[in-house]
């Protein structure tokens, strides 16, 4: 569903530009976040529309598009899950896993136990402590499957990488649900 910035007027503009190339990083799962952030700030310092306020209208329009693209590249590469999806897309693998069922019993057990933990959060004696524990558990699981993704992807085993990615999505969703509960809990 997602695509790059579209452009109606500019022939030179390349919406499909590789985010890793744009950010000057090697195309792999492991990313040097400090280098990514430094590069991001440098690119925005040159391309942000605020740097082109007195330029011609065309240049201002281009600056908005380029700057948007830099923002998107940064967001995608910074997020471990979105980065995984993006790498799969680059490898020509469909990352849409909505119809997949897992046949990994270990992961299923992990899922069930985390789900249970989540559903019991609101009844916990100390809900905030229970939440913190839950985040720790989810984050540990996330770290485990990120490692798995990296190993599979770098070994060009895209089917296995795709499954690892689906697990990341699943865990992200759990984390999101916990955050929603936290909102209610803390009465934001």
């Amino acid at each position: 569903m997602r695509a790059g910035v579209s452009s109606d007027t500019m022939s030179d503009y390349n919406p499909a530009e590789n985010f890793f190339v744009l950010m000057g990083l090697p195309q792999q799962y492991s990313v040097d976040l400090a280098a990514l952030t430094a590069r991001y700030r440098e690119l925005q310092s040159a391309m942000h529309p605020d740097r082109h306020v007195t330029a011609s209208e065309r240049e201002r329009l281009l600056a908005v598009q380029k700057s948007s693209q830099i923002n998107e590249a940064y967001e995608v590469l910074r997020s471990p899950t979105r980065r995984a999806a993006y790498l799969l897309t680059l490898a020509g693998v469909d990352s849409d896993m909505s119809s997949t069922t897992f046949r990994d019993p270990e992961f299923l057990m992990q899922q069930i136990s985390l789900r249970e933990e989540l559903s019991e959060l609101s009844q916990a004696a100390d809900p905030e402590a229970a939440l913190d524990q839950f985040y720790q558990d989810v984050d540990a699981a996330l770290a485990q499957h990120r490692d798995q993704f990296a190993r599979c992807y770098d070994g060009a085993d895209y089917n296995a990488a795709r499954e690892a990615y689906a697990k990341l999505q699943f865990l992200d969703k759990l984390r999101y649900e916990a955050e929603q509960q936290e909102n209610e809990l803390l009465d934001y």
């Binding site: 500019m10 391309m47 011609s56 600056a63 380029k66 967001e75 009465d187």
Partner: protein, 618 residues
Amino acid sequence: MALMQISEPGQSPAPHQRKRAVGIDLGTSNSLVASFLNGSVQTLADENGQHLLPSVVRYGESGDVVVGDVALAKAGDDAPNTLMSIKRLMGRSYADVQSAAVLSPYTLVDCGEEMVKVETRAGQISPVQVSAEILKSLAARAEQTLGGELDGAVITVPAYFDDAQRQATKDAAKLAGLKVLRLLNEPTAAAVAYGLDEKEEGVIVVFDLGGGTFDVSVLQMTKGVFEVLSTGGDSALGGDDFDEAIANWFMGDEYPELSSGQRRRLLTACKQAKEVLGDPACREAGIVLDGNEKVLTREELDKLLDPLIDRTIRACRRALRDAKLSTDEVLNVVMVGGSTRALRVRERVAEWFGRQPLTDLDPDKVVALGAASQAEQLVGNRSGDEVLLLDVIPLSLGIETMGGLTEKVIHRNTTIPVAMAQEFTTFKDGQTAMAIHVVQGERELVEDCRSLARFELQGIPPMVAGAARIMVTFQVDADGLLQVSAREETTGAESRVQVKPSYGLSEGDIADMLKASWASAGEDKEARALREQQVEAEALLQALSAALLADGEALLSEEEQRELLAEMETLHNERESGSAASIARQIEVLGKASEVFAARRMDASIKQALAGRRVDDL
């Protein structure tokens, strides 16, 4: 021998070429204009030495329109025609205003889905027109002080302002004849004001507690880049609630029923007591209502304020969590808004963040000062110590899907500008049109979000159901304003997109208002249009000349340079002797002719930024 011109580093060597740029804080109760003057950024005073301009506009009996203190003086006698707190109505429909319980003594006109209007003796007035009057008054003050027409303005808006409210603000500026360099979020402006001299790096929290709203923003400052990491707040919490709490304490059981007049007097007395206790030397303050006095001690005041301050702390906790930070990672807390003068607020903020908040700058002026500093840079007066402000979108943008649900396209706290493309398809054979409803907000149901625009994609080539691929691009610019474009991908057919903003004004509305304002000012429409095109032509010629000087030889062949120069020459001549229409045509021609050059310059900038980095890596 020619005399050598000596100038300080960072200062323009030719003062007469300095552009006149201002920062404007268009506030709910008061507004301010600031500019770079005599070596520093400062707020500008009116002829009576007043810096704050009450955001009050009065439509008088003789067709006159007055702004500020003069208008405020009449608020009691002529309430229906004296418009206050109009910012609360910007970009809002009648229904919004009713549900938000915005109290107003004037007659609001229900315009359905469109922005609410106010019934006055001058007719039905849009909040945009009222805001334009305030802006005009500030612009006139600035032109007086700076000695000429303004080249541009940065106008601040609350960080939580949605698309409709931002658009309304920009429309107001257009109506006031101001060139908007940028709509800047108020907390970002405040951080800039404090960041000017301190070349520190780290996380800054802006704590903005005004009369009616609380706003918190978390920013990362690194080498002159201000990155907004998250924003949050409470749109119904402010100093007015402090006064209410004190008033309720005063009344206790003794005054069960107060008349509205008594209540207003009591609130004023409570506000004064609160301000007296803003002085650390004072321990108590008396509150008198109709001869009955009660003494408010600092301890009692703190007890009354604490539950309200708790709510601000809770919003801070959430904003920090959204930014994935803890309090010990915060370098500085910046205080903005008159209500941060309350000592208890400062105490509690210091306690929670574990550091004293910054209060050196006047909390009422800090936003305007930051805006002016940014305006100064954007207009090109300053180079070298440039800062870059990366703002975020405060509310998620989504589209309506089956069953009245929203699907988020751009999430809140995403850095802007941002573009997202979403693919749609047809669900019926031969379908040639499709309706899209864009909403803004966090809730799952469309009816709980703000409707931004409904538009229809037309001219989709007839195909079997599901075969068409319609790519809809949502582009949010650096001001936080949304633009939507669509294209059918399989055939390459460009769909005609009609965007009808639910709460905004159409271009036609604005043109009508402009005409009306010219008529009332006795201006000649033709002359004004010609002048506008001349200014635009001049801006384009200047921009292109500068670009050619910098990159012309490197990026264009001699042939290309010649062609571009020829079109520039034509525009130059048109500007001197052409009509508004012919100048506009040539601006368009030159714009097209410079497209390739513009694109190459962008690519060159990117390459340069990347090259610079590689050198650093070595």
